[in-house]
Each structure stands twice: as structure tokens, then as C-alpha cells.
Symmetry: C2
Subunit: 212 residues, 2 copies
Amino acid sequence: MDRMKDVAAIPRPYHHGDLRRALIDAAVSLVAEEQDWSFSLREVARRAGVSHNAPYNHFPEKRDLLAAVAAVGFETLRDGMIASMDGITEGKIVLAAAAQAYVKFATSNPALFRLMFGPELASSDGTRPDLAEQAGAEAKNVLRGIISRGAIEGAFAVEKDKASIAMAVLSTWSAIHGLAMLIVDGRSDEAGSPNVLVEGVMQHFLDGLRKR
Amino acid sequence: MDRMKDVAAIPRPYHHGDLRRALIDAAVSLVAEEQDWSFSLREVARRAGVSHNAPYNHFPEKRDLLAAVAAVGFETLRDGMIASMDGITEGKIVLAAAAQAYVKFATSNPALFRLMFGPELASSDGTRPDLAEQAGAEAKNVLRGIISRGAIEGAFAVEKDKASIAMAVLSTWSAIHGLAMLIVDGRSDEAGSPNVLVEGVMQHFLDGLRKR
DNA sequence: ACCTGAACACCGTTCAAGT
DNA sequence: ACCTGAACACCGTTCAAGT
């Protein structure tokens, strides 16, 4: 993520070495700094030290640059989830770890998280750039892997058929994603650190809000 | 500049009758039409038939107009939830009905829903305009009411103390809100209508993903 | 192929002035 | 108190031209 140093050292030729990369890096920084992606494309170009429409050689529209930023975010999110599961075998604990990583990512990168799931990436015709579409599926796939394995090993009360697993994945993702969103949006005014809240939600989710 | 011939022979007076209301109405329509709130304040003014900076007499910034739009949305959401519960007494069914209303609102007004929970309403100093802050608490309060009553009546396995109920409310809200967001964002590619998905999630949530 | 500079049609916001 | 018009400093995007 920090490959900006070597670029600055070299005297800039007419053709930027890797402008595409530099633009994405600048945009990622701007999202983090301003907690927002309302910055102008011209500002991104300024940061990269190029003219205000050099970006158009690499991204047809501002939206496409944002999609590339989102893709970086999805990679980081997926990597974080996978790393959090390392060495854990028990189904529910793997799930809890992944949930913690998910919410941790969201609270650490609130604006990026919102951008990743926002509508800004959709084009006018409703389609999403491939980059973001594909990248977005990855976090879900990690959850799917956990649920599938849990179902097969009997850790969860989920049938092994595809539809049941898909529904269980959606339910699980909803709970985690909703919590992350509410925290990021400042709508969770309960006391307690994110970790505690994740624990609480996963507890309710795994045990159910049923009467015993 | 184009002082149009008054169609209905009603000469528009220098002072608009209720410009504030007209601006909010125009903005609500624009959010629905464009599925987006990137429209300009000038466009809103045009729709209301006033000069491009008449709005500043009623809203210090564009953001404040959007906050008023969000507040309208929160009222509608709350009303929908309350109406859906009408006549139902059994705890879990009340909860399911409210969840359906919540997701129904989101899928019927995707852009408005996103605006309501988005960061666009927060002012630069991080505070949210009172309008949206207060309105946003209402949907949550409806859920709190359901959970509280369910806890007292023993419908849910939730302790009656304040902290337990607060946590249960957050868990429930997370599951419903997350599902709504994922559907609205087009990230739920499971087959099935929203209603079926809500049912599935509530089922998992109430029964728990535990091994029986 | 990649980048620049001028140009176009917009914005949000401010300000002095009108009613 | 509420509204207007001109003005300012911006945008995103297009285009012809440079390397």
C-alpha cells in the first residue's frame, strides 16, 4: 500500500511510470484522510503530480477509479478475515473470529467500508464494474466457506444442501454486516467496544433469541 | 431569469408561500427519481421555481436539506413498522412483521434508505443535524419496544435488565438492517423475494444457528 | 499510448441589493 | 424576513494538440 516513496524520488518524465497505481494509492489515501470520496478527480491528479485529465487515460470515469479503490478494500478485508481464522478449527470460534475481523476492518476504515458497499460504484445502467463486483464476492466467499464446513462437520444446525447453506450465509452476513454498518454510521450508541458488541451479536445469533 | 407566464393566472408572489416545504418535497422526489442525492441544490431550486440561492434562506447547506429529507424517511419507516404490527400480539410474530416492514421500506426506497443511514448528514465537525439524529432513533425505539415487551412477557430468552435488552435490540437491528443493506446494495444474489429472505434470516436469528 | 492545456457547461456558496 | 442576480472559485468531461 505504500509504494509511493520510490515514485517521488525519480525525476518525473513526461510519461508517469505507473500512473494507474499512483492514482489508486492517492485515492485510497484521500478516502482515509477525508473520510469521504467527494474529493475531486482533479485533486487526485494533483497528488499524483499529473495534469487534471491524465487520469482519463486509465479510468473512463471517476467511478472507475473508486471501483479500483473498493477492490483494494475488499482484498484487505478478505485477507484480514482469513488471517483471523488462522489455526482455529472449531466452527463457531472460526465464525466469531471472522466476524471480529470484519467489524474491525469496518471500524478501522469506515469511509472505505462504506464506499465498498455503496452505490457509487454502480454505473448509470445499474451494472457494477467487474473489479468491484468480483472483489465484493470474496468476503462473502470466506463466510460461505466457514458455514459450509460448519454444516458438513455438524457444528451448525444447517442442512448441507446448497440452498440452506446460501440462506445461512446470508443470515450470518446480514448480522455481521448490519452491526458493522450501524457502528460505522454511529447508530449503535450502546456502551462497549466493537469487540464486545460483536461478541454480543454473535452470541444472540448462535444461541438464538428463543425462549428456553 | 425565465419568469414564465403563470399558467394558472396566479402570479407567483415575490415570497413563496412555503418554500421550505416545497424544497423538501422536490428533494424527496429527486432522491426517488435519480436514486441518488448528487443532484444540485440549484436543481432543487429550479423545481421549486425559485432562484438558485433562495434555499439558503431555509437551509444553511445542502446537507441540511438532505437531513430534512432523511427525517421524512425515518418518519415513514417508523409509521410503516408500527402499522405492520397492528393487531398482532405474539412477540415473535410482531418482530417478524416489523422486520418485513423495515426491509420493505428499504427495497421500496433504496436511495432514501441509504441516505438516511449514510454519512452525508453528518456535519464537518462530526455532529449530525438534530433532525436526522432524533428521527433515526425512532425506528430503533420501535424495535426496543418489541424486544422489551417480549422480554417481560418471556417470549424471548432475554433478561429484563436494561443492558441485556439494549444488546438484544442491537443484535436484532443488526440482522434486519444488514439484510436490508445487502439487498439494497445488490449483494444478496440468493434467489427469493425480499419477504422470503427476511423470513429466512429471522428464522435463523430466532432459532439460532446452533447444533441441536 | 500516454499526457497536456484550453474550453464548456456546470456546481456550492457568498454578497450586495431589491421587496 | 425572504428573495434575486452577479460573482468567485471550483468541478467533471471533451477535444485538439503535443511527446
